[in-house]
C-alpha cells in the first residue's frame, strides 16, 4: 500500500535547517510577568511559613496534590500562591511527580485531521480517562502523517519522532524530535544519517534503532543506524542485507524484528529480518513469523501479539517454538474501533486507538494449559472501550505511544 511508489522524479533530501524549524521557547514561564512564577519565590513562600495544606507536612501534602488530575489544575491553582506554583505549569508538576516516584501511564496519540492532514498529538490520561494536548511539534514543513516513526522510552517519559516525509512531495526526512513529558517540551535532535520514511524502529536497552525504509532515490534502503539518546548522535550498524521498507517492527527478546508485510497481489511471501545488537548481525526471519504477521504488533508477557489491520478480528499470538500463530481467547476487537488502528501496549494492557480516537483497552491475562505437559502459555483478552469526545470526530490516528509520568 504505502510502498507503491509512483513518483518518477527524484527529489532532494529536505534538510530541515533553521529556516524550517521553530523551536519551542525554552522558558515558557518567562512570558508571564508575574512574581509568582519566579522560581526563587518558592523558597520565599516556604520560608514565610505558609504550608501547602495546613496541618500536613509539605511532603505529605505534595503526595496528595500531585494526584490531582491535570484537568483540575486550572481551578486548583487559584487556591494560593504555593498551589499556583505547583499546579501552574505541567513542567513543574510532572517534575515533582517524577521526584516523588509517581508513574501513571499516558497514551500519546499521533493523529491527523482527515481532511486537512494537519498533524497533532492528543494525550489520553489512562488513569483519569481524560484527554489533553501538548505543544505542537517544532516543524514548519507540512509533514505527511504516514511514514513517520515514533518510539518511546516510557519510564523516562520521553518519546521520539523520526523521519517521515514532506506532504505532497515524495521526499523523506532525516528529522528527529524528542518530547519530554517532565518538561512538556519538544527538542530537535541530531538528524539521522540517512533520510527515511516507512522504516523499522525500536528501542533496545535505551537505544533507538532504525532500519530500512524508503529513501530519496526511489529505492528501498538496506542501511540501519542507532542512537543513544543520552549521547544524541547516530551511528551506522550492520546493513540489513536486503533493501526493504517496513510494514511493522517489534523488539522481542532484545532483538529488532522487521517485516515488510504482505504486498498486493500477495504472490510472494513477505521478507523479514531480525537484528541482534549483541552480535551486530541480521538474519532472516522464520517463515511462520513473517507470513502470519498481518497487523500491528505489541509485546506483552515476552510474547509477540498482532492486532489485525482488519476490523473485528481476534488478536493473535506467536509461538516461537512452533513458528506459528494462534488467536487468543476472548472476544475480537470491539466493533466501535474502526480502521486505521494505532496500537501499543504497556504492562499487560494493549491499547488500540481507532478512527475518531476511540480507544479500546485490552487486558491480557495468561494461563497455563493443564492437560498439556509443555509450558505453553495461553492468553485471554478482555476489552473495554473508552469513547473519545465529539471534537475528535475528524481525527485519524497514525501512531501511539505510552509514557509514564
Amino acid at each position: 500500500m504505502q510502498r507503491v511508489r509512483l513518483s518518477s522524479q527524484q527529489a532532494s533530501v529536505h534538510k530541515l535547517g533553521d529556516s524550517q524549524i521553530t523551536l519551542s521557547p525554552k522558558f515558557r514561564l518567562a512570558v508571564f510577568q508575574s512574581s509568582l512564577l519566579n522560581p526563587s519565590t518558592e523558597s520565599e513562600l516556604i520560608l514565610s511559613g505558609e504550608p501547602l495544606i495546613p496541618g500536613l507536612p509539605d511532603d505529605v501534602a505534595l503526595n496528595c496534590l500531585l494526584r490531582l488530575p491535570v484537568e483540575s489544575h486550572t481551578d486548583c491553582k487559584a487556591v494560593s500562591k504555593r498551589w499556583h506554583l505547583l499546579l501552574g505549569s505541567k513542567e513543574r508538576f510532572f517534575t515533582r511527580r517524577k521526584e516523588m516516584g509517581f508513574k501513571d501511564p499516558w497514551l500519546f496519540v499521533f493523529a491527523f485531521h482527515k481532511c486537512t492532514g494537519k498533524i497533532q498529538w492528543q494525550v489520553f490520561d489512562l488513569t483519569h480517562l481524560s484527554w489533553h494536548t501538548i505543544p505542537a511539534m517544532p516543524c514548519k514543513d507540512k509533514v505527511c502523517p504516514h511514514g513517520v516513526r515514533c518510539v518511546s522510552i516510557p519510564r523516562d517519559g520521553n518519546l521520539f519522532v523520526c523521519g517521515g516525509m514532506v506532504s505532497d512531495v515524495d521526499c523523506p526526512l532525516d528529522l528527529v524530535l524528542k518530547y519530554e513529558m517532565q518538561k512538556n517540551r519538544w527538542t530537535v535532535m541530531n538528524q539521522m544519517i540517512t533520510a527515511r520514511s516507512f522504516f523499522a524502529s525500536g528501542v533496545i536497552d535505551g537505544r533507538i534503532y532504525v532500519a530500512g525504509g524508503n529513501s530519496t532515490n526511489l529505492f528501498e534502503l538496506d542501511s540501519a543506524e542507532v542512537m543513544d539518546p543520552v549521547k544524541g548522535s547516530w551511528h551506522p550498524i550492520a546493513s540489513m542485507g536486503t533493501n526493504m521498507a517496513s510494514y511493522d517492527a517489534a523488539v522481542l527478546n532484545g532483538k529488532l524484528l522487521v517485516t515488510e508485510g504482505w504486498l498486493w497481489p500477495f504472490y510472494v511471501s513477505p521478507r523479514g529480518q531480525v537484528y541482534d545488537p549483541r552480535t551486530n548481525k541480521w538474519e532472516s526471519m522464520a517463515a511462520g513469523l513473517r507470513e502470519g504477521w498481518t497487523g500491528s504488533s505489541v509485546v506483552v508477557y515476552g510474547h509477540l501479539f498482532v492486532v489485525s489491520e482488519h476490523e473485528r478480528m481476534k488478536v493473535k499470538v506467536y509461538y516461537a517454538d512452533e513458528d506459528s500463530w494462534e488467536p487468543i481467547n476472548g472476544p475480537p476487537l470491539p466493533e466501535q474501533i474502526c480502521k486505521p488502528f494505532a496500537v501499543n501496549a504497556c504492562d499487560c494492557r494493549i491499547y488500540v486507538v481507532g478512527r475518531n480516537l476511540h480507544v479500546a483497552v485490552g487486558e491480557i491475562s495468561r494461563f497455563n494449559q493443564k492437560e498439556t505437559s509443555n509450558k505453553k502459555w495461553k492468553f485471554h483478552v478482555q476489552w473495554q472501550v473508552e469513547d473519545a469526545p465529539q471534537i475528535f470526530s475528524d481525527l485519524t490516528p497514525s501512531s501511539s505511544q505510552v509514557l509514564y509520568a
Binding site: 495546613p54 500536613l56 483540575s72 481551578d75 487559584a78 487556591v79 494560593s80 478482555q382
Partner: protein
C-alpha cells in the same frame, strides 16, 4: 497460653498489642494490624531489644500524636485491607476503590487521617487517604478548597482578579460544595 511463650515470633496472629492515644484511650489490636504501622513496629522492635520480657500485651505503646477517633478509623480501614497489595487491574476494580475512598471523604477528617497515617508510617493508609483527598477536592471551587483546608487566599487583589478572569471557564461545571 504456653503456646505464646514458646513462640517468640512477633508476627504470630494471636498476639495483641495495646496502643494508647493522645486522649489516653487504650486500644488492644491484633499484632498483624499493629505491625502495619511502621512506627509501632519500630517501637516494638526497639523495646524487644531492650527487654525481651517486655513484649506483647504487657507493653503499652503511646501514640501521643493520634486521637482515639482517628485511630479507630485507621484500625477499621486496616482490617479491611486485602491480603495482597495488588494494584487494581481493571476499571471495575478502580471504580470500587473510588467508591470506597468516597466513604472516607468527610471534610476535615481526611487531613487528620492522613496526618496520623503519616505519623504512624502506615504506607497503604497514606496512599489510600491521600488519593481520597485528591479525589475529594478535584472539581471543587476555589472557595470550597480554601474553606476545606482553612487556606487563606494569599494573592494580591489584582492577581486574584486576574486568575478569576483567566480561568473563568474553569469555574463552571464544578461540583456542588
Amino acid at each position: 497460653m504456653s503456646n505464646t511463650s514458646e513462640n517468640p515470633n512477633p508476627s504470630s496472629s494471636s498476639a495483641k498489642i495495646t496502643l494508647k492515644t493522645s486522649d489516653n484511650e487504650l486500644f488492644e489490636v491484633e499484632e498483624a494490624v499493629a505491625m502495619k504501622f511502621c512506627t509501632v513496629k519500630q517501637y516494638f522492635e526497639d523495646e524487644k531489644d531492650n527487654d525481651v520480657a517486655a513484649r506483647g500485651s504487657s507493653t503499652v505503646i503511646p501514640l501521643p500524636n493520634v486521637h482515639s477517633a482517628v485511630l479507630a478509623r485507621l484500625i477499621s480501614y486496616c482490617k479491611k485491607l486485602p491480603q495482597s497489595n495488588a494494584v487494581a487491574d481493571n476499571h471495575e476494580e478502580e471504580e470500587t476503590k473510588k467508591k470506597e475512598r468516597k466513604q472516607y471523604g468527610t471534610p476535615g477528617d481526611l487531613v487528620d487521617l492522613i496526618s496520623a497515617a503519616n505519623y504512624l508510617d502506615f504506607k497503604e493508609g497514606l496512599e489510600f487517604f491521600n488519593q481520597a483527598l485528591a479525589d475529594h477536592i478535584q472539581n471543587k471551587s476555589v472557595e470550597y478548597v480554601r474553606k476545606f483546608f482553612g487556606i487563606k487566599g494569599d494573592f494580591e487583589p489584582h492577581e486574584e482578579e486576574k486568575y478569576r478572569e483567566e480561568y473563568a471557564w474553569a469555574f463552571e461545571g464544578v461540583d456542588e460544595d
